[in-house]
């Protein structure tokens, strides 16, 4: 078999061999044809005002308008909170059904359920939560009638930042479960046994062996969760009616409203979102590079 020996690159020697890039060419072509080209308008229209002339005012407004700056802050906050919160809970659930020793059948149930739940969003999800925890919700009723606890008197409000985060978790933490379950499968039994042989306690095993190995996957999953929450629109709109002015809702108001607005500004805000995702990705890459030192 006259096979050319594969030059496995050692880290450090950069390859400028364009033939290697051919391998990702199909993907890049696909992304170009079906993601970039259609979204090009996003870029060109953000520099246009409502009369069609070139302008930088949309971009400038991103920084000068307080409601836009606030929108970005809110979006980042809710995305970060639900990414971390959903991440932790999702990790624990994934742990429970993989390494944690629960019966095999429960794993199948959880995985398939997570698949559906991860996309259960928008009006049906908002409605489901209102029917559960709204003022007339059935849990609210149960708590009030059987336990004498009125959560609304105690200050809970479903139609708030906290309530919205709670609802977001519904599709965030199944996503985490789905990503982490295969990663947790990769924890080899031998490592645990070896650690125990050397006298490690469970905590030490987790802290020194398992978590470092898992950390790149966990971070990767969390950035996905972040992006997922960042781009969410329908759920927030349905639940809070645009009161919590996150970026997607502001964009929706500019682009899709029944009132004549400034679509250019909406597109400019979307460009802002792209930039924020790029920055988050950079941060995540940096973190990941640090943690991947543990592997190999």
């Amino acid at each position: 078999m006259a096979q050319t020996a594969i030059q496995l690159k050692s880290s450090g020697t950069a390859t400028t061999n364009w033939r290697v890039w051919l391998g990702v060419a199909p993907f890049l072509l696909f992304a170009f044809l079906f993601l970039f080209l259609p979204s090009l308008r996003l870029f060109t229209a953000s520099f246009t005002d409502s009369d069609g002339n070139f302008t930088l005012s949309n971009i400038i407004q991103l920084f000068s308008e307080p409601f836009i700056v606030n929108a970005y802050k809110l979006s980042i906050q809710i995305s970060a909170v639900t990414a971390v919160g959903g991440g932790i809970l999702g990790f624990l659930m994934a742990y429970a059904v993989t390494v944690g020793g629960l019966p095999r059948s429960l794993r199948s149930v959880l995985i398939t359920f997570s698949g559906v739940a991860s996309n259960f969003a928008g009006v049906p999800l908002a409605f489901a939560f209102v029917a559960t925890l709204g003022r007339q919700g059935f849990i609210t009723h149960i708590l009030r009638d059987y336990l004498g606890v009125n959560i609304y008197d105690a200050g809970f409000n479903l139609y708030s930042f906290a309530g919205l985060s709670l609802v977001y978790m519904y599709f965030q933490f199944p996503l985490m479960v789905l990503i982490m379950a295969p990663a947790l499968d990769g924890l080899k039994r031998e490592w645990r046994e070896a650690a125990e042989n050397l006298g490690a306690t469970t905590t030490q095993y987790w802290l020194r062996v398992a978590l470092p190995v898992l950390l790149p996957s966990i971070l990767g999953a969390m950035i996905l969760l972040f992006g997922n929450a960042f781009g969410a629109y329908a759920t927030a709109y349905a639940l809070t009616g645009g009161r919590i002015g996150i970026v997607t809702i502001q964009i929706g108001a500019q682009i899709r409203g029944d009132v004549l607005y400034n679509p250019g500004l909406g597109y400019a805000m979307a460009i802002g979102m792209v930039v924020i995702m790029a920055v988050s990705l950079a941060g995540y890459s940096w973190l990941q590079a640090k943690t991947e030192r543990w592997l190999r």
């Binding site: 709204g134 682009i255 029944d258």
Partner: protein
């Protein structure tokens, strides 16, 4: 063995999928039968023939429960044997305009032929050259202030803002805007959209202005009213829909009277609900029809318009509790069935804003809503 088996599985799946996709039948329709209707005038039968040659009509943003559009579309299909392609029923007016723009070069079924948009969008789409003129045969009986003199756009129906009340949960029905401020309605009232973007919600605020000392030229009292309502805790931020009214979470929903009446029909008694057209502050909102300048099926579009503006079409809208634009004319000629007339609520005294007034009010409301309602949830520093 396992990998080979899964490979075979994968390939057979792929094969199955390709076959299925290639063989996918188009949308289930019957072959167009001959027109069952024999129109009297010659231009009409020419139009019908031309439309049938085109074979299909593409509509957008027509939910079936809105003004009885479901029955309107079915009747149109049965009468003329055309296929009707329904694009996004949830589209807002801006989406419809965007759809026309995006489909300029497209002769496929994604390009909308006809649109039904908010009042302000008629003029703006004419200015952008997105619509083409057409005067239906009943043109003269459409009120002058509800149509474009050149025939580009024309009002289709109107409704009045009202309160849909779930009487099982809240038996004490408010009769007017001022009643809404009563503390017994705490946490029970909601709008049907976001006033920064939704036509219905903006006009709700505008309507409140009329009852609160404002006028068609001054919408500020409306903002003040809602600010008070919010401060009192009576207004909740949820976007109201009929499901939420039925659960009792939002016993009072501010919406068009035709939506409210249609909702009561769909509830079928559970929950019991009623519609109240407020005693003062009766605000009429008009929607307009237009034909896209790039319509791939212009004759079908024109036939659709003829149908909508015929007595039959207007009556079907009335069945959906909408006030058709030719209502005055039809009443005068006595062609409206008495039982339908009985079902329509009394909306005497309803006022119609002009285009200029509407745009000015919308501008005011959309920019000041956040400040008025204190809705700006501030991000933590």
């Amino acid at each position: 063995m396992k990998p080979r088996k899964s490979l075979i599985n994968l390939f057979s799946l792929l094969l199955l999928v390709s076959i299925a996709l290639a063989a996918c039948a188009p949308a289930a329709t019957e072959a167009p039968p001959a027109a069952t209707d024999a129109p009297a005038s010659d231009p009409m039968s020419d139009l019908v023939a031309a439309a049938q040659a085109e074979g299909m009509l593409t509509t957008i943003a027509l939910p079936h429960d809105w003004c009885n559009y479901g029955e309107v579309i079915e009747t149109f299909k049965a009468k003329y044997g055309l296929e009707v392609n329904e694009l996004n029923p949830d589209a807002g007016s801006a989406d419809e305009i965007e759809a026309i723009k995006a489909n300029k070069d497209n002769t496929g079924p994604q390009a909308p032929d006809v649109i039904d948009v908010g009042f302000s969008f008629g003029e703006s789409s004419k200015a952008e050259g997105l619509i083409q003129p057409y005067k239906v045969s009943t043109w003269d009986s459409i009120p002058a202030d509800a149509k474009d003199p050149d025939g580009y756009w024309y009002g289709d129906y109107y409704g009045v803002l009202s309160f849909l009340v779930n009487t099982d949960v809240q038996p004490d029905v408010p009769q007017d805007w001022a009643d809404l401020l009563d503390p017994k309605y705490n946490g029970q009232i909601a709008l049907s959209g976001d006033p920064r973007a939704s036509n219905q919600a903006i006009q709700s605020v505008y309507a409140a202005a009329l009852a609160n000392g404002g006028s068609l030229d001054n919408a500020q009292p409306g903002l003040d009213f809602f600010a008070d309502l919010n401060a009192a805790g009576n207004l909740i931020p949820l976007i109201a829909n009929n499901g939420l009214v039925a659960t009792g979470e939002i016993p009072i929903r501010i919406t068009w009277d035709y939506n409210a009446l249609a909702a009561i029909d769909t509830f079928e008694g559970n929950p019991n609900a009623t519609v109240v057209v407020p005693a003062s502050g009766r605000f009429a909102g008009v929607y307009v029809q237009a034909i896209s300048a790039y319509a791939p099926h212009p004759n079908a579009a024109k036939l659709w318009m003829e149908f909508l503006y015929s007595d039959e079409g207007q009556t079907l809208w009335m069945k959906g509790y909408c006030h058709p634009i030719r209502e005055a004319d039809m009443r005068a000629r006595g062609v409206i069935p008495a039982d339908l007339l009985a079902k329509l609520p009394d909306v005497s005294g309803a006022v119609f804003p002009s285009l200029a007034q509407l745009n000015a009010a919308a501008e005011l409301i959309t920019t000041n809503w956040d400040a008025a309602v204190g809705a700006d949830v501030q991000a933590a520093p």
